[in-house]
């Protein structure tokens, strides 16, 4: 409200103008709130839809049975095993390399050179490359050139390259948040730079790194396109080794959604339910780690 000594000086035209401005202001505020709530409403509608569609078909038998061409009989066990394999393999490939790269860029790279600047820019660009392009890289290099065809190994290597920029960026952020006094203190006591990193910097950056790694892993579990590009099958048994054919949960969702048999659309929703539950568990671990480290 405008204060009284001034409002008496305002003509009726100005007062109307002011009222209109205030009205607009109120509408704008509501509009912004509505936009912010929109995403949340969509999230709940989506989750509700999945539960309604997928829950009836979900059972212990569905989780443990093999894939089948008959919607009433099919299970999802091979896809669960495949997803776990891909996740673990992606992590074992991308985490050591990603952390090492981040350590180089943040800790060893004391004089920023043209080359390291280029590497940094390159990492930022790589994280913007569509995942399907990584799939084409995997198809040509791992599947064809190294003859790994549509094996878990080829899938894990491709996925490892895909999440690598993400792991590097997150680890760099975690390292940057470690106070410089840790490094200086350690080196003042006579440690080498690597000893300071190994015994002081890395241990205090672990919660941050772990959070990032888990987010990268959930990306690897949800990602589908590169695995289809390297030729991952859909009708296979549970893999037993790294050179076996495989399928993953998102590929089953994709296949079943496109299946002409209506009943398969329900199993797709059940597979989504399994996938989302797993991702939610992973993410809660990340949130828990973050909460614990900020205490």
């Amino acid at each position: 409200m405008i204060s009284s000594p001034f409002s008496s000086e305002l003509g009726s035209h100005e007062q109307r103008h002011l009222r209109r401005r205030k009205q607009k202001d109120a509408i704008f505020r509501v509009l912004c709130l509505a936009a912010a709530l929109c995403g949340i409403v969509i999230l709940f509608v989506f989750l509700g839809k999945i539960v309604v569609d997928g829950l009836p078909r979900l059972s212990l038998n569905f989780l443990t049975a093999d894939l089948s061409g008959r919607p009433s009989r099919t299970g999802i066990w091979p896809a669960i095993v495949g997803s776990l394999y891909i996740m673990v393999l992606t992590a074992t490939l991308s985490v050591p390399i990603g952390v090492a790269a981040a350590v180089y860029l943040e800790e060893f790279n004391t004089r920023k050179t043209k080359l390291t600047e280029f590497i940094q820019l390159n990492i930022a660009n790589l994280s913007g490359v569509p995942s399907i392009v990584y799939g084409l890289l995997g198809l040509a290099v791992f599947s064809r050139f190294f003859g790994l065809r549509d094996s878990i190994m080829a899938g894990g290597l491709t996925m490892g390259l895909l999440v690598l920029p993400m792991v590097i960026i997150v680890t760099q952020e975690a390292l940057r948040s470690v106070p410089n006094s840790y490094r200086e203190g350690s080196m003042a006591l006579g440690s080498t730079r690597w000893q300071a990193i190994r015994y002081q910097v890395l241990p205090s950056a672990v919660p941050g790194i772990m959070t990032g790694v888990i987010l990268a892993m959930s990306r690897a579990v949800g990602e589908t396109a590169p695995l289809i590009a390297i030729g991952a099958a859909s009708q296979v048994g549970a893999p037993k080794g790294l050179l076996d054919e495989f399928t993953v949960l998102p590929i089953q969702v994709f296949d079943w959604s496109l299946n002409s048999k209506q009943e398969f659309h329900q199993t797709a929703a059940s597979a989504i339910l399994v996938l989302m539950t797993f991702l939610l568990l992973l993410n809660s671990v990340a949130i828990w780690l973050r909460a614990r480290s900020t205490k």
Partner: protein, 311 residues
Amino acid sequence: MQVRPAEQPAPSPRQRGGGKNLFTERFVRVMAFACALLSVVTTFGIIWVLLSQSIPFFRMVSPIDFLTGTEWRPTREPASFGVLPLITGTLMITIGAGIVAVPLGLLSAVYLSEYAPKWARQILKPMLELLAGIPTVVYGYFGLFFVTPLLKPIFPDIKSSNGLAGAIVVGIMILPLVSSLCEDALRSVPKALREASFGVGATKMEVITRTVIPAALSGIMAAFILALSRALGETMAVALAAGSNPQLTFNPTESIQTMTAYIVSTAKGDAPYGTVKYDSLFAVGVTLFIFTLGMNYVANRLVRKFRQVYA
């Protein structure tokens, strides 16, 4: 434990380990550098693979026919490889997603950065992150079995996979990205600008629309472009929701195909090594890569410009 005389300083680990520590130091440094270089190797790997594998394709199909042809029929006889239908399909999804995500994302960013009390932010932010964490194939499922049935009463002739549903779900998918990047841009606007604007009697809306948003504009634009380049490269959601029917149309209720969806559906089906179909994957891949690279380049330049202003 051995007691040392006070005048003798304790040997540093460097001396105690002798050459071994120095060796470890150098070894670790070199290994870490090699890991950092791997990202550069990946980039060159991608460029090399895309170029070398698409050369056989461009020997069979002239680049001019590829870029100007209006029909994409890789399987029928005679095969035709005009990439325009795939490009218009991709652009339709990208622009449609932008129409959904840009206003919603910007307004929700305004709410989060300018209006929301702390507790509301603490609820809304993780929820948006959750929306961002949903796998893209799940968005495809929503497009097929939720959005399209909703659109059916409005557009009775709508196909079961259609550009409109694809654009809507991709728009929802990039919404959290637009919102969080725009919020960062808005937050970086100095408080003094807002106070000055309030000081001359502006309402909160006028402060936001005439001072804060213009001041953060390059960051906001960069956010839009980054999000749109994500939409451009999005694969699984459009492969399900928008379809696999390459045609040159601007009718959003028709089934279309994007570049990414073509790669997925062809790799999924049968594309034996050495056939034109196999090579065409890489030709489409190059086209897609150039598009996203261009958009990322523009976004990066804008971000750099925006950093120079306030930081």
